[in-house]
């Protein structure tokens, strides 16, 4: 008996699970399902969780991934309003907006949908770039560079068509902005010319500054030298004036004796070994030889 109950419970559970599996489907977060009955779409489910449906072949739930996707567009060469060629490589963030419409217009294949996106966005880019100058993309003037506005315009322009396909563009961005090869060649020439100019300027500036420092050094040095010379001369002159004053003071006390002493001193200085002295015998001290200790006569001297 107990055995029968166990069997019944197990069997019932298996049947319930089987029925549950047949009559329901799971919808994960950020997915949606289009439920079709005999091929005709009946309803769209976007709430995640467990949902009921008639078993196959009556109803079929086709699930779609509604998450945001990234798509890198092929490069797109366009002309700006000021007739400049630019090559844009963009990315877009998009997602499925209307599952049913998406299924009907694109057969649900995302890679095919992205091919359609590519051409739609490219034409939007071409149209929008024709309204902006190149400065809207690259400019040192922050008011001129309007990339965010350009992106917004492209987004709005492309979304009109994209929404028809059940998709929505959330963001567009220029990963790369390039110039055609010919322009790049010209830019390189310009860069080289500019750099050569910078190099020459740097050298000239260095030379000028160095020369200025050297000149300044020379001026300063000669100023120091001449000031020192003037000061030294002043000190010397001061000393000499003082000496003269002292001499004069001394002289005033007895000019005759002073003169006598000075003369003797001068003689001492002048008479050296290469001097020849001729003296009269009556001049002291030789007068002694002739006159004994008589008073010495006035002296006389000569030098050669």
């Amino acid at each position: 008996m107990a055995r029968f109950i166990l069997r019944a419970v197990v069997g019932g559970a298996v049947v319930l699970v089987l029925l549950g599996w047949l009559f329901s489907y799971q919808l994960e977060e950020s997915r949606s399902a289009v439920v079709t009955r005999f091929g005709y779409p009946r309803r769209v489910e976007i709430e995640p969780g467990l949902h009921a449906k008639w078993p196959w072949p009556v109803e079929k739930a086709q699930s779609l991934d509604m998450r945001q996707r990234l798509y890198n567009l092929r490069h797109c060469q366009t002309l700006t309003r000021d007739k400049k060629n630019v090559i844009l490589m963009s990315y877009v963030v998009w997602r499925i907006d209307d599952p049913l419409r998406f299924l009907q217009r694109t057969t649900g294949m995302t890679d095919q949908a992205e091919l359609k996106l590519d051409s739609l966005i490219n034409s939007a880019q071409t149209a929008v770039m024709g309204k902006y100058e190149l400065a809207a993309l690259v400019s040192t003037n922050a008011d001129e560079q309007k990339i965010r506005q350009v992106e917004k315009d492209i987004l709005a322009d492309a979304n009109k068509d994209v929404k028809q396909l059940g998709m929505e563009l959330l963001q567009v961005g220029f990963r790369r902005i390039s110039f055609p090869e010919d322009n790049v060649r010209y830019i390189f020439d310009q860069m080289r010319a500019e750099r050569a100019q910078f190099a020459a300027k740097a050298l000239a500036e260095g030379k000028r500054e160095a020369a200025a420092i050297q000149a300044e050094t020379a001026v300063k040095r000669s100023t120091i030298e001449s000031e020192a010379r003037i000061e030294a001369d002043r000190i010397r002159a001061e000393g000499e004036a003082e000496a003269a004053r002292l001499y004069a003071e001394a002289q005033r006390k007895d000019p005759e004796f002073y003169e006598f002493l000075r003369s003797l001193d001068s003689l001492k200085k002048l008479m050296r070994s290469n001097a020849t002295l001729i003296m009269r015998t009556d001049s002291p001290p030789f007068s002694v030889l002739r006159y004994g200790i008589k008073q010495a006569a006035p002296e006389r001297k000569d030098t050669q």
Partner: protein, 337 residues
């Protein structure tokens, strides 16, 4: 009949014991299945539980499970998504950079240019070309948005970063980019990448942007190096001039000091000499005043002694006799030394 059944009995026993092994295996399998939903969330992760596909929990705080043991039902009831929220992720942006520092021998017949499709670069605000390489470090800040609302968001981080790099460099002059490229630009970038990612609720937070390389392209790099070496050369010239000045001025000052000092020494010596002489004169004057004749004579003799000791040659001539003619003297001078 009973005999037969008795004979079959050992076989039935064997089958029965086999069945018991199978039963035990089934029970074990069921238990293992029932426990298969239990997961451990590592300290660097958080967990999200999807029950029949639906995120469990009313508020984000309940939805995001902290590290620890996570009790969940087995599949297909529950599915557990683990999000490495503490992990620092990194995306390297090399699409705008070539890595070449020398012009290629064969640029596919283009010579001095860049194929815009094959190779990326950035255009500066003054319409020149540079090539940056960037490393963007980020972390997942919103696990729900990151794991459930988008397909491979790390690719979006890369493309958004590249886009902002293109935009930011497009707003600066080439010299500004090359001069402060690695600092100011990196800071500005991290804010603007964050802003762009927030527009689509990517659920990441940018930690840091590094720009290990911001260089002119290989075609013109030599020209930039020339400017650098010119400016180094110019700095050297200026430095040399400064060194010259630093040597010359103190030297001139030293010489000036010497000049002044020698003048002072001269004055001091002169005055010392004069003072001495004056003192001697005054001393002699005192004696002289007492006895002029004696002092005068003594001084004269002393002087004569000194002079005669020095003089090279001496001649004595007699006193002239006024009655006679003046005597004539022929002098033979000694040879000069």
């Amino acid at each position: 009949m009973s005999r037969r059944s008795e004979e079959a009995h050992p076989l039935a026993a064997a089958v029965g014991s086999g069945l018991r092994v199978v039963q035990a295996a089934i029970v074990l399998g069921l238990v293992a299945y029932a426990l298969s939903g239990i997961r451990v969330i590592q300290p660097t992760q958080v967990g999200l539980v999807l029950r029949f596909g639906r995120l469990v929990g009313g508020t984000p705080a309940e939805q995001v499970r902290r590290p620890g043991l996570l009790l969940a039902f087995p599949r297909p009831i529950d599915r557990v998504v683990l999000v490495p929220i503490k992990e620092v992720r990194e995306v390297v942006i090399e699409d705008l950079w070539s890595g070449e520092t020398e012009p290629l021998l064969d640029e596919f017949g283009m010579g001095d240019s860049i194929d815009p499709v094959r190779e990326g670069y950035c255009i500066t605000g003054d319409r020149y070309i540079v090539q940056p390489r960037a490393v963007v470090k980020y972390q997942i800040s919103d696990p729900i948005a990151y794991a459930l609302r988008q397909i491979d968001p790390s690719l979006l981080v890369r493309d958004a970063s590249m886009t902002e790099l293109t935009r930011c460099i497009g707003g600066m002059t080439i010299d500004k980019v090359l001069a402060e490229g690695k600092k100011g630009l990196a800071v500005a970038l991290s804010a603007s990448i964050q802003k762009r990612l927030d527009l689509t609720q990517t659920g990441v937070s940018i930690l840091r942007v590094e720009l290990p390389e911001v260089v002119p392209t290989r075609h013109v790099i030599q020209d930039f190096k020339n400017v650098q070496s010119a400016s180094i050369q110019s700095q050297t010239m200026v430095r040399n001039a400064q060194t010259y000045r630093a040597q010359e001025i103190p030297k001139a000052e030293r010489e000036a000091n010497q000049l002044i000092k020698s003048a002072q020494t001269y004055r001091k010596g002169l005055l010392a000499g004069v003072t001495g002489e004056v003192a001697r004169f005054e001393g002699l004057l005192k004696q002289y005043k007492q006895d002029p004749q004696v002092v005068r004579g003594r001084l004269f003799r002393e002087a004569m002694e000194e002079i005669l000791a020095q003089v090279g040659a001496q001649y004595l001539v007699p006193k002239a006799d006024p009655s006679q003619k003046q005597p004539t003297i022929r002098l033979l001078l000694p040879p000069k030394k």
